[in-house]
Symmetry: D2
Subunit: 322 residues, 4 copies
Amino acid sequence: MDALQAEMDRRRPGQSKITTQRKEGDRIEILSGLQDGVTLGTPILMMVRNEDARSRDYDETETKYRPSHADFAYDQKYGIRALSGGGRASARETVGRVAAGALAKQILRERFGVEIVGYVEQIHELRATVDPTHVSLGDVEATPVRCPDPQMAEKMIALIEETRKKGDSLGGVVECVARGVPTGWGEPVFDKLEADLAKAVMSLPACKGFEIGSGFAGTKMTGAQHNDPFIPAEGSARTTTNYSGGIQGGISNGMPIVLRGAFKPTATIVQEQQTVTTEFQPTTISGKGRHDPCVLPRAVPMVEAMVALVLIDHALRQKAIS
Amino acid sequence: MDALQAEMDRRRPGQSKITTQRKEGDRIEILSGLQDGVTLGTPILMMVRNEDARSRDYDETETKYRPSHADFAYDQKYGIRALSGGGRASARETVGRVAAGALAKQILRERFGVEIVGYVEQIHELRATVDPTHVSLGDVEATPVRCPDPQMAEKMIALIEETRKKGDSLGGVVECVARGVPTGWGEPVFDKLEADLAKAVMSLPACKGFEIGSGFAGTKMTGAQHNDPFIPAEGSARTTTNYSGGIQGGISNGMPIVLRGAFKPTATIVQEQQTVTTEFQPTTISGKGRHDPCVLPRAVPMVEAMVALVLIDHALRQKAIS
Amino acid sequence: MDALQAEMDRRRPGQSKITTQRKEGDRIEILSGLQDGVTLGTPILMMVRNEDARSRDYDETETKYRPSHADFAYDQKYGIRALSGGGRASARETVGRVAAGALAKQILRERFGVEIVGYVEQIHELRATVDPTHVSLGDVEATPVRCPDPQMAEKMIALIEETRKKGDSLGGVVECVARGVPTGWGEPVFDKLEADLAKAVMSLPACKGFEIGSGFAGTKMTGAQHNDPFIPAEGSARTTTNYSGGIQGGISNGMPIVLRGAFKPTATIVQEQQTVTTEFQPTTISGKGRHDPCVLPRAVPMVEAMVALVLIDHALRQKAIS
Amino acid sequence: MDALQAEMDRRRPGQSKITTQRKEGDRIEILSGLQDGVTLGTPILMMVRNEDARSRDYDETETKYRPSHADFAYDQKYGIRALSGGGRASARETVGRVAAGALAKQILRERFGVEIVGYVEQIHELRATVDPTHVSLGDVEATPVRCPDPQMAEKMIALIEETRKKGDSLGGVVECVARGVPTGWGEPVFDKLEADLAKAVMSLPACKGFEIGSGFAGTKMTGAQHNDPFIPAEGSARTTTNYSGGIQGGISNGMPIVLRGAFKPTATIVQEQQTVTTEFQPTTISGKGRHDPCVLPRAVPMVEAMVALVLIDHALRQKAIS
């Protein structure tokens, strides 16, 4: 339970001056599946009430479409839209993902020896240098920006502060490593491990890109450079490089799984922008809600959670057939 | 039926000197669901027999693990592995995707007015300039490399030839646009349209990365630059830029859907490489099968097929609720 | 909302002297999906808190397995079991089914013109005479036993009272009719409409049998007797008999869908019974909780709910393809 | 492979004079998943070509709806219908179920010690006496009617012959027992073991009813009669009666699983029947195809197959979590 709440607090807004100032308590109430702190094997229902939604902050959005938000698309799809805080398109829905992911991480660690560490690798043009094989949770949590490269972290924090003052916002890249995943997780053809990871990470708000292993950079290598040579290792094999990112043919090969998610700059900005009313008349809008100028630090536990949920699913599938 | 076979021929190896020389006929036999050329509404079973698998070509793979292939991972998962041509990890399985996708494309075009065009945007360091809003199938098919930028296409072909002679291989990027997708396709939270597209494309062999709209490049923009301003358009709205790639909050917004898949260089190369035997002893291996030095041209119809399959699924979901 | 709560009240214990005397308020709290009484198109989360679980009533069950209850099976499956009120094996979980079914019934009625009426057809040896083509909700609710045959209803009530005094319990049959289902709902082969209905009804607590149309009685007829002759009807066709129960080959044929669920006598009885302790020593047990001597009246809204949920699912599938 | 083909031959028409005289060879061709007789862990594709469909036999059905067949419902759903032999509504589709079930039975027997035996319990008014705890495959196959009660089997065969001569048809009940199922298979609430079994059996052609354990007869017992008392048994518990049919609360309790499926009399009969044309004009029709006067003997391997497929699914689910 404590581990769970700690994870929730990592996602929660208002953690530091570089994130949004909404004060959501994010207290978890567990409604089923636990008895005296022991799981019952049956579904665990966790509830987090939305305590600090000041719907007044969003009033203008009743009559104007915020650029690069889901308002317009929702109205087109449903003909109606939740007005307080973005409804299901609000990033607040990730609280449920992080809660479920916290449980999954715990099981993965204790039952399967899998460790998942996410971190901010890049904000805007600032790119950190991180060794995914050794980075620890402690390294990540050492700075409020969740970047384990201390020099770069400082620059990132300064840039975020500066951007906030301009009423603008920033994007970036979260990298995540899963170490200790045994060989054999993942299914051929349709439910390849990298495909399920891609769907999971791309379903996070503001995520526009996904890479596994060498990703887009790997397209500029030749096969001779990119292939990961096998060498013997304790009665099995390992590779000397890891451009494959721990997955070959959709199945884990025992090397660390390394992936990245690209997050666009936050859509809500204070600067005035061109848009239309819900009656399709030209107008302008500027954000007044308490929004993050940069979601990257809070996206770290979200990416970890999604990775954990995909891995636990494949862990159970593999257990079923072995 | 003719349209179907034409699509199969786009995927099929042996189309030109820059692709593998295996002569797979890829003739489709339709076993159910059609009566006198009319669909019955019930499942359509299409079968393509694997006519030209010379399993002798692959013999060395019985005792050695090919680097960056799925051989090792399959053996670890199943304890046994199909020896002829890679089994389910062979890219030959994509014949089924292309066949299903050809049907989906036909329905999308005729029933929903959706047009899907894929093309090679990049091979190794060579990057084409293509306008996704106007590129046509004719432009794409004008060159064997399926790159609608004629100057760049020539350079790509030359580079592939040169690489083949060196016994090496190349990767690259396929871009794909879906035009005419109405607003409202896609589901909030878990089955976001971009998430389903990511899973579909990332499940293709050799795919290591996925982007929608601005993708990774968008992380270096600020919110003020990246937000797509709305303007009035024929009783509705459109955006003046399309960094969102046609999807906002998981739901299509009526703009062209633009996405990219990153394909690593082909793993099978003629050059000698370091690896281990299936008994985990060090050894070397060099490819002897007839493999593509660059899968990108053949990946184009595969990406189109996966996009079509995701879109038809969401088209039907939307029909169900509207 | 009022319609919803009314439906909940039909399922709720403590409605009359023939049902259990637990006083569960069953007040629905709606947590998402509604705004000012209008649905948003996004998921509707309804919560009903379990207000009157006196776990003391069940204390003996910590150390003894109740005959024909799920206690033993749960312990064998999970190695642990919820001790208060049966956990997920408690019939209290049906509150969620009835709530969802109430919504489904409303949509089926208003959007598709489908009317669903369930009723008690049989309790123990007492079998009512009911015409499924004309029976109304009013007829059903006219007696606390929910049997629209008034003479038989009185006998049933008397038998339930008498059985309660003996500390014993009774089973019976719920029949349910869905009128106005259009032709064409249901999928060939695997998701046949009758198969989905069977799964839905058989998933209710205490249900041991399912029939559609002629059911088991139909096995004693010949084909010449059992076949439903078609006759012309308003530009289409109808059948003169309805042994098929409104479904042919898994697909609705426009006639009323008539089905039955068999419910065993309640397992919890006051009479002393032979059993074992959780240490597998012989012992005896007698029920002390406030349990129904006969669940049939309360099973009526549950069966209706399950039928409604299956029908709405197939209604949407059919909409998707037509 | 031999075991597989033997199972196919049990389902196949033309086995004896009491079944249809179509000569379908039902030879299985295995297209994937096997290498030198050993499974690869990847999907096994089995194909059986439809060798003896004489579509001429069915010609009248192009213009007339056969009573209690799916013709009318398919036309209403799809607006078009396969004309040769009933298309997907033909019982020929069960060949795939039996093939998959044969594999499942083999795995259940060898890996889990589960034995599945089905048999004809009733034809028309003739009801056999069978002990589900001891009946063997040999007993069942001893007569062409697959009824392990020899006296009753003779009467059944005589009745079928007589009915065939009259151009009429018969229904009946298949009972099936699964012995050796360990405790703990099945999921609470929605995927209860009995619910999944009900769906599987009810998806077979001509099936109109399903029972588990005491079924409909159990509704006429009281709780004191119906509850299965637990007694100690080898460090665990068993019940002295088995009215629960081996499942309590959706989860197997280690006792034999006993279930029944009710099959209506075959719809195709030689006698003339009233119906309508596809233009909805009154007409008459009489069956001319080579149809079974009674499908019960051939339904036995179908029921066994469906039970096996459900059990293997739950076996794997349980393996995943234990």
